[in-house]
């Protein structure tokens, strides 16, 4: 018999990284018994239990296939490890599941020392339930942020993927490949929210990359993006040796996080997640029983800010007598 949920949660709270794989197995499980254990696990890493927000920096990274995400993440991983910061990466594959199965191969593209206990990479398939990112991914981000210094959620795509990831990350970075106008178009047309950091890869391409940076900055200005610390940034990187721009990107991520009102951000993530989970489980019908989305949101905003997502879901369920 392995650890139960509470024990795994307590180990994560004590920053025992070796508890992470078993914790993730539990968080992904859908049996009733395991869901109860999951709730116990998340309670142990809740802000109430930690007496603060989980310290890890949750970074969402998204971008189209072929944009150089994996190469970039490898470079970032090395930079973080060089600073002795532990890193967990959750790679979410949004590909459709016609057969129900999925092929998850991206971890191989991230180059790291398998003996390094400060690194964890986990691949998951999205789409098991409605609502974009796997439910387990959102719980995992919350749990791992208690133990790891950096938690990266990586997913593929632009537009919807970026919106999904914004719901759970402290900082959102969108990867842009020079020469492809997708991100620019989505940004201008409002399909995509303004991300915290825009990363132009393949800076070694020269003019093409410089133009991409310029166009994105112009777009941000025309959209009236904010200035000053924490405002949206555009960074150009090249992961080819000699790599460039990685330091600047790291700094941009740090600065965004430093300027962030973390408790407020995390609180809204937990509350939005709870409402989403509740809706997935009980549908529009359940939402109506709460008096509609607005009323539910208002009610959630009055709850104890230290409560973790499953506790909030349970409270909502109690309200409708489910």
């Amino acid at each position: 018999m392995s650890d139960d949920g509470a024990a795994l949660g307590a180990r994560l709270r004590e920053r025992d990284l070796s508890a992470a794989p078993a914790a993730l197995n539990l968080l992904e499980s859908t049996t009733a018994a395991d869901r109860a254990q999951t709730a116990a696990l998340l309670r142990e890493v809740s802000p109430a239990a930690l007496a603060r927000e989980a310290p890890g920096h949750v970074i969402g990274v998204t971008g189209p296939p072929g944009a150089g995400k994996s190469t970039l993440l490898s470079a970032l991983l090395h930079a973080w490890r060089a600073q002795q910061r532990s890193v967990a990466m959750l790679a979410v594959d949004p590909s459709s599941r016609r057969s129900g199965g999925s092929l998850l191969g991206d971890r191989a593209r991230i180059d790291f020392d398998p003996a390094d206990r400060g690194v964890l990479i986990r691949s998951t398939a999205a789409g098991e339930r409605l609502g974009g990112l796997a439910w387990a991914t959102r719980s995992a981000a919350q749990a791992l942020a208690a133990a790891f210094d950096v938690v990266v959620i990586e997913t593929v795509g632009v537009g919807q993927a970026e919106t999904d990831i914004a719901e759970l990350a402290d900082t959102v970075a969108v990867i842009v490949q020079p020469g492809s106008g997708d991100a620019l178009q989505f940004l201008k047309s409002g399909i995509m929210e303004i991300p915290d950091v825009l990363v132009v890869t393949k800076a070694d391409l020269g003019t093409l990359a410089t133009r991409a940076v310029r166009d994105l900055r112009a777009a941000l200005r025309s959209l009236g993006a904010a200035h000053g610390p924490g405002a949206a940034r555009v960074v150009a990187v090249s992961s080819l040796p000699p790599a460039s721009g990685i330091d600047e990107l790291q700094q941009a991520l740090e600065e965004h996080r430093a300027a962030l009102d973390l408790p407020a951000r995390r609180l809204s993530v937990r509350r939005a997640g709870a409402l989403r989970d509740f809706t997935v489980e009980h549908g529009e019908h359940g939402l109506r029983a709460l008096g509609g989305r607005r009323a539910a949101e208002r009610w959630l905003s009055e709850q104890d800010p230290g409560l973790e997502t499953p506790a909030l879901v349970a409270a909502l369920e109690q309200r409708i007598g489910a």
Binding site: M1, N25, L26, S99, G100, L103, A108
Partner: protein
């Protein structure tokens, strides 16, 4: 020219084998290198474990090459080297070995395979990313045209594409697109008036399957396309330069482990495909051994293959007539059909930006074709005698002796090779080596031809791993696309639907979707089997973690732990399962992963029991062609294991 593919265990043993084959009437050398040499690793590298001297000879430095060619007059020899990513290096060592014999490089004759695209697509022994790999090839071609004029610097291989499941149209289209990528790169490096010579030095290495009429048509189509390409794209006019020159190894994919004696007639028919019509006849033929699907062939098995060629050449009348298909409407029609298909597919590759950029596209297309081929065999739509039809058999006297069925490599080879390498390193002029490697790295960062610095490093006594390491530092490392992510889903027939239902039931039992890690430990790059298992597991409804080839036991263990997989499938075809499988299991258990391990590959019967003792739950070999059945076994196995483990913790207990 008559050759057999050879080269085993050590430079000295291989040298003896070559000399004895030359004495038996063989007229050229065909050198096979072990996987560490092919991928640019020294024998003491972690990845080399279990692979040293396994599928060919280990050559780490000029001393090894000197031993390999000892007493063989290189000025008179025609040497074919099956070497790709590190071809420039092995040619450099060969040039230095010739120097030591007093033979100038101008006199050297032979071929280096040197085709990197098919390594990314099918064979897996790449060392550098595609761009720099292509540069090395172009540099080497430009060098040999100037300094080693009788050398065939590259052999464009369509062979491996067919082994990876390509259709004839794909085989033609992808190999021609590959040639275009190479020639375009060389064109930037040589004066325009040299292009005819360059074009004339490029030869092909093709495959011939058992559908030998269509295969013959394929070769006629290739020679037409080649000439067209030379004239139109590269302005070549000399008809001597425009001739489509090719060597051939007949199909191994179609050889069966079941009733292996049937492979002899398959090999004979395939040999006819490349000899029947004079207008598209092969210049050199290599025939595989009848028992190749069972493991490494012994000298007697190779002799049998050589004798097949000799009967064909000296007893039959095949060489006495002009082209026997001249004026055949059937043959002309077949050729026209293949040409149309190939031109259309070449256009698709060109749209992707050429063969280098289209590697992911081509890889996915091959995985798909192979999936379709296997489906047909499983469904009985494609008949394989002795396997899915006429499977009943008398007891074979040829394979009755289980112990002697294949040649076994002495396990001490690896240790003694590592020891010899240490001695070499301590005896050489280290400063000269350091200088040469620094010079090599400097050249790699610039645009000059890399061959000069490579030959200087060979002369100074650098090792294979050092040469490749210096270049990796500059070029970066690389993992090729696996092609599985893009593979289309299998049509859900009754069998598959039933399997999906079983997987769904298992999911409820486990609490989450069954997750399988498909791993290829070691340097073996033959990934067909692993890819097909991965795709089928996906189609069956499992979550599949497949990371491609060349993983260390530590990497596999880390993936299994972090991914929380329920089962681990390992595939090895290089014969290194005895060393690598126990090493992986040890690493898994040390990481606290208790998930069951299954193994697939060319595993001789007598190795099954030791693997099971090491903790393997099931072993599959080429005779288990029904992948759906393998999946069903896995589901059953997981159902049983789930009963004994706490659901959420299945596969990953926390280390104490």
């Amino acid at each position: 020219m008559i050759r057999t593919y050879a080269g085993h265990s050590t430079a000295k043993a291989s040298n003896e084998l070559y000399r004895s084959n030359l004495a038996k009437g063989q007229t050229g050398l065909s050198v096979a290198f072990d996987l560490p040499t092919q991928t640019g690793h020294d024998p003491d590298d972690e990845l080399s474990r279990g692979e040293v001297g396994k599928v060919g000879v280990p050559i780490s430095h000029r001393g090894d090459m000197g031993t390999l060619m000892d007493g063989i007059p290189l000025g008179e020899m025609n040497t074919s080297m099956t070497i790709n990513a590190t071809a420039a290096w092995l040619l450099a060592l060969y040039i230095v070995a010739a120097e030591d014999q007093g033979v100038p490089q101008e006199q050297l004759q032979g071929t280096t395979q040197n085709d990197i695209i098919k390594e990314f697509l099918a064979r897996g022994t790449y060392a550098f990313p595609p761009g720099p790999s292509m540069r090395l090839i172009a540099d080497m071609i430009a060098y040999t045209v100037e300094h080693v004029p009788k050398w065939n610097p590259i052999n464009i291989c369509s062979y491996h594409l067919q082994e990876a499941g390509s259709t004839p149209v794909q085989e033609i289209a992808y190999s021609m697109s590959n040639a275009i990528a190479v020639l375009d790169a060389v064109r930037e490096r040589v004066p325009a008036d040299r292009m005819g010579q360059v074009f004339g030095r490029i030869s092909f290495f093709v495959n011939a399957g058992v559908r030998f009429i269509e295969e013959h048509a394929k070769l006629r189509a290739m020679s037409i396309l080649w000439e067209e390409l030379g004239r139109e794209r590269y302005g070549v006019e000399d008809s001597k330069h425009l001739r489509f020159r090719y060597g051939v190894q007949v199909n191994s994919l179609g050889l069966t482990e079941a009733q292996p004696e049937n492979n002899v007639q398959r090999i004979v028919l395939e040999a006819l495909a490349v000899t029947l019509g004079r207008d598209a006849r092969a210049r050199a033929i290599q025939l595989p051994a009848w028992n190749e699907a069972l493991g490494l062939p012994r000298p007697w098995d190779q002799q049998w293959s050589l004798r097949i060629q000799q009967v064909l050449a000296y007893e039959t009348d095949i060489l006495e007539y002009p082209d026997i298909f001249e004026g055949s409407k059937v043959m002309d029609g077949l050729v026209a059909e293949l040409l149309d298909g190939a031109r259309a597919e070449m256009a698709v590759v060109a749209e992707h930006g050429g063969a280098v950029e289209a590697v992911p596209y081509m890889k996915a297309a091959l995985v798909d074709s192979h999936r379709e081929r296997i489906r047909k065999i499983e469904a009985g739509e494609q008949i394989v005698v002795g396997q899915n039809r006429f499977a009943e058999s008398e007891v074979s006297p040829l394979t009755a002796d289980a112990e002697g069925g294949i040649m076994v490599v002495d396990p001490d080879v690896e240790a003694s090779q590592i020891e010899a390498l240490r001695k070499w390193r301590s005896a050489r002029d280290q400063q000269a080596v350091d200088t040469a490697l620094a010079e090599l790295a400097q050249t790699a960062r610039g645009v000059e031809n890399l061959m000069g610095a490579t030959i200087a490093a060979a002369r100074a006594g650098a090792t294979t791993g050092e040469w490749a390491g210096a270049l990796r530092d500059v070029f970066g490392s690389y993992r090729a696309p696996t092609g599985v992510g893009e593979a289309s889903a299998a049509p859900a027939d009754d069998d598959l639907q039933e399997l999906r239902d079983e997987v769904s039931r298992l999911q409820e039992q486990l609490g989450r979707r069954p997750k399988i890690l498909v791993g290829k430990p070691g340097l073996d790059g033959h990934s067909n089997g692993a890819e097909q298992i991965a795709v089928r597991a996906r189609d069956a409804g499992m979550d599949v973690v497949y990371e491609g080839i060349r993983l260390t036991p530590a990497q596999i263990a880390a993936s299994a732990l972090q991914e929380g997989v329920h089962v681990i499938g390992l595939s090895i075809l290089s014969g290194s399962h005895r060393e690598l499988i126990p090493a992986v299991i040890e690493a898994l258990r040390a990481a606290g992963v208790q998930a069951p391990v299954i193994v697939g590959g060319i595993i001789p019967d007598q190795d099954v029991a030791p693997l099971e003792q090491a903790g393997v739950a099931a072993v599959y070999t080429p005779k288990d062609f029904d992948i759906t059945r393998i999946m069903r076994d896995i589901v059953k196995l997981l159902g049983e294991t789930a009963d004994t483990l706490a659901p959420a913790a299945a596969g990953a207990d926390s280390p104490a």
